[in-house]
Symmetry: C2
Subunit: 292 residues, 2 copies
C-alpha cells in the first residue's frame, strides 16, 4: 500500500487516499465546511447521533473499529448509509484526535445560517435559511466564543436544560468544527443551532421572536436568585454568554433588557462559560415548568 501511495496510483477501498477520503479530510477547515455544507462527526457516540438524526451521508471506519462497533455499524449499513473501510493512515487524515476512535461520519450541515437576509442567497444546500417557526421560550446565545469546547458545551447544556435554540454570533468558533462537535456530545444533532449572526443584529432578532434579551455578566444589576430575577425568568428570554476574555461588548449590554449576575460567594472573580450557562439556563428552565 505504501508503494501504491508513493507512486500516486488510483486507490482501492483499503488505501488511504480515495477521492471521498480526500474530500472529507478537507472538512477540518471551516471554510471548506461552509462551502460544502458538510462536516465530520467522530467516534461511536457522535456517529450514532448523526445516524439517528438522519444527518450521516457516509461513514468511514477502520477494519479494527468495524469489528469493535459491529452492532452500531450494522445499523448504519441497514439504514442504507454507505460504509467505507479505510486504512489507519486514511483514518488519521479524517481524525481530529491523537488516538482516533476509528470511525467518522460525513454529515450534511445541521446548523442554520443566521447571516443577514442579503447574504442568505449564498447558503449552501443542506444549510437551510432560518425559518421563523413556533414561539420560543428559552434561547442560549454564544457571543464571540473563541473556544470550540465552550461552543459545544453550550449546545450540550442548552439541549439538556430545555432551551429551544442556540444562536452564535458571526465571530464565534464553528459549532461544526471537530472539538465543538465532540463537546456537544450529540446535542448538535438534537437542538436547533444557528451560526453567523451579526452581533449588531442580536437584540433585534431576539425581540422579533418575542424574547427578552438577558446578558449574563458578573456586574449585572439583577441578581438571578432575587425576586426581580425570578420575575424576569418567567418571560420568554434569550441569554447572552460573552467572549471568554472580553465579555459582552458595551453596545450589546446596553441593548439588552437586563444584565443579570450570579452571586459569587468565594474569592473567585468569575465563572467560566459552562458554569454560568448551566446556572442561567437551569434557572430559566425551572421558571418555565411547562417546558419540555
Amino acid at each position: 500500500m505504501a508503494s501504491a501511495e508513493l507512486q500516486g496510483r488510483p486507490a482501492d477501498p483499503f488505501t488511504e487516499r480515495t477521492p471521498r477520503v480526500v474530500f472529507a479530510s478537507k472538512l477540518h477547515r471551516a471554510a471548506a465546511r461552509r462551502k460544502a455544507g458538510r462536516f465530520l462527526a467522530e467516534g461511536p457516540n457522535q456517529v450514532e447521533a448523526a445516524v439517528s438524526a438522519g444527518a450521516a451521508l457516509e461513514v468511514f471506519v477502520t477494519a479494527e473499529a468495524l469489528d469493535r462497533h459491529a452492532s452500531l455499524l450494522g445499523g448504519v449499513s441497514h439504514a442504507g448509509i454507505p460504509l467505507s473501510v479505510v486504512t489507519d493512515r486514511g483514518m488519521a487524515s479524517l481524525s481530529a484526535t491523537v488516538t482516533p476512535p476509528g470511525l467518522v461520519a460525513l454529515c450534511r450541515s445541521v446548523v442554520r445560517d443566521g447571516a443577514s437576509s442579503r447574504d442568505a442567497a449564498d447558503a449552501p444546500d443542506g444549510a437551510g435559511a432560518e425559518s421563523a417557526a413556533e414561539p420560543l421560550r428559552i434561547v442560549a446565545i454564544g457571543q464571540a466564543l473563541a473556544e470550540p469546547g465552550n461552543v459545544g458545551t453550550l449546545i450540550r447544556a442548552a439541549d439538556a436544560l430545555g432551551a429551544d435554540e442556540v444562536w452564535f454570533t458571526a465571530d464565534s468558533a464553528d459549532p461544526e468544527g471537530a472539538k465543538a462537535v465532540r463537546a456537544s456530545a450529540g446535542s448538535l444533532f438534537h437542538v436547533p443551532v444557528v451560526r453567523g449572526i451579526p452581533v449588531d443584529e442580536v437584540a433585534e432578532r431576539a425581540r422579533s421572536r418575542g424574547l427578552a434579551l438577558l446578558v449574563a455578566t458578573g456586574d449585572g444589576e439583577v441578581d438571578i436568585t432575587s425576586a426581580d430575577g425570578a420575575e424576569l425568568l418567567r418571560e420568554p428570554s434569550a441569554w447572552v454568554f460573552g467572549n471568554e476574555a472580553h465579555g459582552v461588548p458595551a453596545e450589546l449590554r446596553d441593548a439588552a433588557d437586563a444584565r443579570v449576575r450570579i452571586p459569587l460567594r468565594g474569592r473567585a472573580e468569575s465563572l467560566n462559560i459552562a458554569t454560568a450557562a448551566a446556572i442561567c439556563l437551569h434557572s430559566s428552565a425551572a421558571a418555565h415548568p411547562a417546558a419540555g
Copy 2:
C-alpha cells in the same frame, strides 16, 4: 550557552539547567509533587494568585516575560520571593503549555492529604494532615474524576459558588497537576482542597463533619427543583460528582442520604461535570442565604 549545555558545565543563572530548574521540572510528575510537597503554577494569573496566597516559594521567568509583567514581578520581588531568570529552553522544561507564558511559580503544596489516618505519617512537609475545623455547610466531592480540567473546573465553581471545601477521592486526577491548576483559575489557592480520600471512607467522613451526603446522578430519586429537593438543600451537605464515564459506584450511591437528579428536558442523555456541579452547588448556595 548552547555549548555550555553540550559540555555539561555548571550553569549560570541564564542557562537552562540550573539545579533549581532541574528540581522544578520534575514536578510535572504527580509522584514527584507528592514526595516534595511542591507544585508549579504557570502564567501571570496563577503566579499572582500563588503569591497573594503566600504559596509561592520561587518564581521562574524569561527575560521577555520579565519585561511584559514588570509590575507583577516587582511585587514578587518586593514580597521577598526569589525571582530567577531562565532561558526559553529552561522555561520550556518548566512549562506544561505549547506556547509558554514565560513565568512559573514553584509553590508549596496547598492541598491537604485525606488519606486514612494510618497513612498520615507519610505526609510530606507543607501538606499538613487534615484538621477537623469549623462546621461545614457545602462541600463538593470529585469521585474518580479522570480529567484534570474537570478537577480544576470543580474547584473554580466550588469557590465561586461558596462551597466551604472540595474533596477528591484517591483515584481522581491530582488538583496540583498543571491542567487542573490552570482550570481552577486561581481558586486552588482560595478554597480548602483535600485529595486522596479512600472512596470507601467518603460517606463516613461526610457524616463525621455533620454533612448529608448527596449523589448527583441522572437517575436520582429526588428532583433538585422539587419541594423535596429544596428541603434537602437546606441541610449542610456534601455533593458527590462521579467519574466522567462510569458515574458513582453502587456502594457510594447506596451509602448516600439521597441521590439527586437535575431534570433533563431535551434529548441530551446527561450533563457534563462542570454543568451538573454548577447547578447543584448554585442550588445549595441559594438555599443557604447566610453563606459567604
